[in-house]
């Protein structure tokens, strides 16, 4: 027992050290990459893309299920985007509220017989509607299938552009987001098959007419902590992974994909829990199997603002679902691990996800338990135990503050002094007690998945209207 505790403590120490060192390395890479990206943008004014006849058409897919509160704002926001050739397809996924009726009223929809060829599997379509207000808007009304993936697939079948951009109906894109996200595609359309943008927390900010009016930090602590989390995940994690062409996730809230490739891999997997992660992994597999020279990019400046859970219960459900999604993708793709054919994805990105994402709750919570036990048995001195935990805490805090620093040095969306001060103070709370809570939710997710509990539990949301003074 004593020997086990000793080994366990050592394993946990190195695990924690390695995890934080990996993040520190990512922070350094991300700082460098962001600076290079900003300099690169200086030589590509966005209005050149806007006026370019070569900007490829994009279809924006907006899956919506029971979004009557926010759908009008979301659709108006997408239609107002700056992009030369745009088609917007809203997929009403069998909403039981007035989502379709609200759109019919607002955008004067009429039933049309637009071409709909079922290239990827989705539930039957009830009807297609074209807007009389804006001919670029098409609404696909379909039978409910209980997954966002199925709704996106229906949109893919109706899309006519070479690129599709998938956006959540509860999100707000900045006006130039599409121009910015297409910069890598335009620079090298043959290699760049997909691009992800940054997702930021909408709660607390002011929205007017579907557009961001003023960026503010949310009021609730639980929301502010998520701001720090999102900054760390996107500005450090995604930026660094993309630098090595090892990005395995493009957020379902905002990403651009080459339509032919998404169709080639069969669209979204209808029963996938983490459909965005699943799609990118399948794209990697498909392209690597064919030995393709390709690139999946992340661009940190096209911003998508999204509403995050504002109560613990909803947040817990969301994080448990994310963990289930992770397991749901990693397990079927375990054959990619350490196979030279899958290059860096198989040898670095996926093992990292297994070790530091999927197994993190088991190792960390188990580790804390063994430390406490070791301290009780007198194997570990109380002082050392405290020092070790303090070290882990302080190191992780450096990374969180680093993500705020990255934000400060580059995109600087939070202009208010108070907001920055609050953001910094929450960096100290993220690793205690939030992290431990987070680990419990993630452990719940693993447990639910192993039990076969794959039910999607609804989250309490305010809708875009309440995000500000619309």
């Amino acid at each position: 027992m004593i020997h086990f505790l000793e080994v366990s403590n050592q394993v946990l120490f190195f695990y924690y050290l390695l995890s934080n060192l990996a993040y520190l390395m990512m922070l350094i890479i991300a700082l460098k990459t962001s600076a290079a990206h900003l300099r690169h943008l200086e030589s590509i004014p966005l209005h050149w893309i806007k006026g370019s006849p070569l900007a490829p058409p994009i279809t924006v897919l907006v899956p919506a299920r029971n979004e009557e509160k926010s759908i009008t704002t979301a659709v108006r926001n997408v239609l107002d985007l700056d992009y030369p050739q745009l088609e917007v397809i809203v997929i009403n996924d069998g909403s039981s509220d007035g989502t379709l009726q609200v759109m019919q009223q607002e955008f004067r929809l009429r039933l049309v017989r637009a071409v709909y060829v079922q290239q990827v599997t989705s539930a039957p379509v009830r009807g297609l509607y074209r807007s009389d207000v804006d001919a670029r808007l098409l609404v696909v009304d379909k039978e409910p299938a209980g997954s966002k993936a199925d709704a996106v697939n229906a949109g893919l079948n109706a899309a006519t552009s070479p690129y599709v951009c998938i956006v959540d109906a509860d999100s707000v894109l900045e006006r130039d987001a599409l121009l910015r996200i297409m910069v890598p595609v335009l620079a090298d359309p043959k290699r760049v098959v997909s691009v992800g943008g940054i997702v930021r927390v909408l709660n607390g900010s002011e929205i007017e007419g579907g557009r961001m009016r003023r960026v503010r930090l949310p009021r609730k602590s639980i929301e502010v902590i998520q701001v720090v989390e999102y900054l760390r995940a996107f500005l450090i994690g995604r930026e660094a992974w993309a630098r090595g062409n090892m990005l395995t996730i493009i957020s379902g809230a905002f990403g651009v994909f080459r339509t032919d490739l998404v169709l080639a891999v069969g669209g979204y997997r209808s029963r996938a829990i983490g459909e965005d992660f699943d799609l990118v992994t399948r794209l990697h597999r498909y392209l690597l199997d064919r030995g393709a020279d390709y690139c999946i990019e992340f661009v940190p400046d096209p911003v998508c603002w999204t509403e995050v859970p504002s109560d613990l219960r909803s947040l817990g459900r969301q994080r448990a679902r994310w963990q289930k999604g992770l397991l749901d993708v990693l397990w079927p793709n375990k054959d990619m691990l350490f196979r030279p054919r899958y290059g860096r994805i198989g040898c670095l990105a996926l093992p990292y996800l297994w070790l530091f994402e999927l197994l993190a709750p088991v190792i960390e919570l188990g580790g804390v338990a063994t430390i406490i036990l070791a301290a009780c048995f007198g194997i570990l001195s109380g002082a050392f135990c405290l020092q070790f935990l303090l070290f882990g805490y302080a190191f992780a805090t450096v990374i969180s503050i680093g993500s705020v620093l990255q934000e400060e040095l580059t995109y600087k969306r939070y202009n208010d002094w108070q907001d920055v001060a609050r953001l910094l103070s929450y960096c100290f709370l993220e690793h205690f007690p939030y992290r431990q809570l987070h680990m419990i939710w993630r452990l719940q997710g693993v447990w639910q998945y192993l039990r076969g509990d794959l039910v999607w539990r609804p989250m309490k949301r305010q809708g875009l209207q309440s995000a500000g003074t619309d």
């Binding site: 290079a36 300099r39 690169h40 200086e42 030589s43 590509i44 004014p45 209005h47 050149w48 370019s52 006849p53 070569l54 009429r110 049309v112 017989r113 637009a114 071409v115 060829v117 074209r130 009389d132 001919a135 006519t160 335009l186 620079a187 090298d188 359309p189 043959k190 290699r191 001195s381 002082a383 050392f384 020092q387 070790f388 303090l390 070290f391 302080a394 190191f395 805090t397 450096v398 503050i401 680093g402 705020v404 620093l405 400060e408 040095l409 002094w417 920055v420 910094l424």
Partner: protein, 404 residues
């Protein structure tokens, strides 16, 4: 009592952890301090910069006309940078007269020389920025410096030079780019190259023709696409030579360019291209036939409705709907074809163009057809289903078709 250092030494292995804790706490404090200091500094910097910007803006006309001696702002790097940025931004929205005035100012004040020098002597991102800025000045004397950038080893520098030359938007810049790809081949991604060539060849697309004849396959593909974008009536029948080219890109370019040629000459060639084995050539041909807007194109557009490619069918439907003439006759022919996909594409186009009510009214108004035919047509219009089990509308009056 032992000193703190002595206690620290006695800690043994734990001392490492303590050191680590101290280091990370120091790192935390330094990061916090840096963020706060940087905020304060930037606040002051931007306040000063904005104030200076307003001052310069107030005296802008005097500055550009040279009334204010150049030496007053040129010596100060921050002022010089502000003026340069303002002039380059002004170029973006300036008309020909204003552009000439701004260019004169840039030459007289030495800013063009400075841009050329920066584009030649800087390294890394500074050089990239300088190359693009030089292009934005549209000063022809900058072309050699940009051409040097094209031949740089760094791909980013080559791209920046390409963007700069694209901004020049003159045939001389196009010649530089074309000479360079003639020497080096396709060493940059195709899209930025196309973009630069479209900008530079728009004024005189003829510059492309000699290169199109002698370039390698991959370069010809790109040039073909550029030709398709920049073709103007001035090219006349010169594009006809590419209608039978072995490269589908060039045939597509020819198809696109033919939309600017007189219909009498273009329809025959386009009708042949509309039967091309490659789908995007057919697509271009159908779109061009639609653009011609000529009655003579109707049979070929109707053929396009039965194409195996969905996009070709859709564009054919759109072109037919956009004609807005002989709607009933066209609809009759579409129904008579008994091609569900074609019918679907046509009806979609009619609906998207908001012409459904007009077509319905015209069907009801025709006097040459029996009630049965009218009913069939109205039923098809309403349901979108081809009358497969119903008698073919034999009474279809094909006077319009005969006239064609």
């Amino acid at each position: 009592m032992a000193s703190a250092f002595e206690t620290f030494r006695r800690l043994g292995p734990a001392a490492f952890v303590v050191k680590a804790i101290i280091s990370v706490i120091v790192a935390d404090v330094l990061l916090l301090g840096f963020i706060m200091l940087r905020r304060t500094y930037r606040k002051r910097y931007f306040a000063k910069r904005d104030a200076r910007l307003f001052e310069i803006r107030e005296r802008w006309d005097a500055l550009v006309s040279g009334e204010i001696p150049y030496a007053t702002w040129r010596a100060k790097p921050s002022d010089r940078q502000l003026v340069e940025t303002m002039v380059l931004d002004a170029f973006e929205v300036a008309g020909p007269e204003e552009s000439a005035r701004l260019l004169k100012f840039m030459r007289a004040s030495g800013l063009v020389e400075k841009c050329i020098s920066d584009a030649r002597n800087h390294q890394g991102w500074r050089r990239h920025r300088a190359l693009v800025a030089l292009g934005r000045t549209r000063a022809p004397e900058g072309i050699p410096a940009l051409a040097e950038g094209l031949r740089d080893r760094n791909p980013e520098t080559r791209l920046a030079a390409l963007r700069g030359l694209g901004q020049m938007a003159c045939p001389e810049a196009a010649v530089e780019i074309l000479n360079w790809i003639g020497e080096a081949g396709l060493v940059v991604p195709a899209l930025p190259l196309q973009s630069a060539l479209i900008q530079t060849c728009a004024e005189r697309p003829q510059v492309l023709l000699p290169y199109l004849q002698h370039a390698g396959v991959s370069v010809r593909e790109v040039l073909g696409r550029v030709l398709g974008e920049v073709a103007t009536p001035s090219l006349g029948t010169e594009v006809l030579q590419f209608a039978e080219d072995s490269l589908p890109e060039l045939r597509a370019a020819a198809a696109r360019a033919l939309s600017y040629v007189e219909p009498g000459l273009a329809v025959n060639v386009l009708s042949a291209l509309a039967r091309d084995p490659v789908w995007f050539v057919r697509l271009r041909a159908i779109v061009s036939l639609g653009k011609l807007g000529d009655r003579a194109t109707i049979p070929f557009l109707l053929n396009g409705l039965t194409d195996s490619n969905r996009l070709v069918r859709l564009r054919a439907g759109e072109a037919l709907a956009d004609l807005r003439i002989e709607m009933v006759s066209i609809f009759e022919e579409v129904v008579a074809m008994r091609d569900r996909y074609g019918l679907h594409a046509y009806l979609t186009a009619v609906e998207n163009a908001g012409l459904q009510a007009k077509l319905e009214a015209e069907i009801k108004a025709i006097g040459r057809a029996s009630n049965q035919v009218k009913e069939i047509l109205l039923e098809v219009l309403r349901t979108g289903k081809a009358p497969l089990d119903q008698p073919r509308p034999e009474e279809k009056v094909s006077t319009a078709a005969a006239s064609r």
